[in-house]
Amino acid sequence: MMGSSMTSGGIFGHVNVMGEAVTTGPMECQSLRVMGVFQTHADVQVGFANIMGQMDVEGQMRGNRVRVMGELTVRGDCEVEQFVSRGTFVIDGLLNAGNIDVRLYGPCRVREIGCGTLRVEQKKPFFGRAGRAEHVLTADVIEGDDVVLAYTRARIVRGDKIRIGPACDIDIVEYRTDCTCHPRSRVASCEQRGL
């Protein structure tokens, strides 16, 4: 899709959005590449999505691999196997993924994260410009087996192995086997439970 276009959804092989596109019905595709603005007013199912521009999903997003270089907004849940972000994202529901790898290039917000492994890092400095203070990940609940956080604000973090890096602000940490905490982070309560 190039220029400005609209579709009612359907099943596609490869979708390439360069410009502006809107879907009104559920869409399914093997691979998706967004360079412009892509708005979907229903559920999306993708094999591999590479989002370099902006994508707004009004419904659920499901798929195998999602890579965000630009901006992603999902109103519902986002269920994928692999979620890699080098941009920013807002997910109003649950982000459910096997592996999540986030480098913060802007404010990211999720209501709930459920995952196998989660890794959050600040972006790498470029010409001495480090990430700014508002580049944080905000979540209500984070649950995962292996969780490594940095620059994260969360109410509850639960998991098996938890490593809290710098500049985090977390109310409750509940871990099963292992938990380490960076001195520049605030953790109100940290408890081990259930083996």
Partner: protein, 207 residues
């Protein structure tokens, strides 16, 4: 319908699975979305599950996951139809229906020799009703009619069937699985069955 709930934390402690496994199974549709019940507690929003259902499901997954792929498991647990065709004798042999209930089914459909998936499901529901001992033969027949009527209304088989009796007159109700139902206090709820549960049971018997 009040059901006993289990919190996510407790579930993980009881079953010994990890968050990663739980969420992976959810992604693969092994655990239906409807079972994730969000409730507010004093620590904020928490997720709960229907206790009985989730515990048996997780036991099943743990038992079967070594032999089957997750996708195969998902197909087995989903209430979507499988492609099968069974004759009456086969159904009796596999224990899906008893001979008695197959005869009831044949009264309604004298010419049916081979059943599609949906017909098999209905026959198994009839069997369940009869096996419960609370439902008479004629009532079981009308249950079948009620179910067959309902498929024009509901798009899938996520439904519940209920039999209510008052002053000796019985009525069958087919409702959406998560719908609430209140009956007149004089009436008696004689029988109820979750069709999607029947399907699960059926699939386990078939495979």
């Amino acid at each position: 319908m009040e059901q006993e709930l289990i919190s996510k934390k407790e579930l993980l402690d009881v079953t010994g699975i990890s968050y990663g496994q739980l969420y992976r199974w959810k992604r693969k549709d092994l655990i239906p979305e409807e079972w994730f019940i969000r409730k507010s507690t004093f620590t904020g929003q928490e997720t709960f599950f229907p206790r009985e259902k989730i515990l048996t499901r997780i036991e099943q997954i743990k038992q079967l996951k070594d032999d089957l792929s997750l996708d195969e498991l998902a197909r087995r647990f989903s209430p979507d139809p499988a492609e099968i065709a069974l004759s009456g004798e086969e159904m009796v042999r596999k224990g899906i229906v008893s001979e008695q209930s197959w005869r009831v089914y044949q009264l309604e459909h004298p010419n049916v020799a081979v059943c599609s998936f949906q017909e098999t499901v209905f026959a198994s529901v009839v069997h369940r009703a009869l096996a419960s001992g609370d439902v008479g033969l004629d009532e079981a027949r009308s249950a079948l009619r009620a179910l067959e009527q309902s498929i024009t209304v509901f798009s899938d088989l996520r439904v519940r069937i209920v039999c209510v009796r008052k002053l000796g007159v019985s009525v069958w109700v087919v409702q959406a699985a998560d719908g609430q139902l209140v009956v007149d206090p004089d009436a008696k709820l004689v029988f109820e069955a979750d069709v999607s549960e029947c399907i699960e049971e059926l699939k386990l018997k078939l495979m």
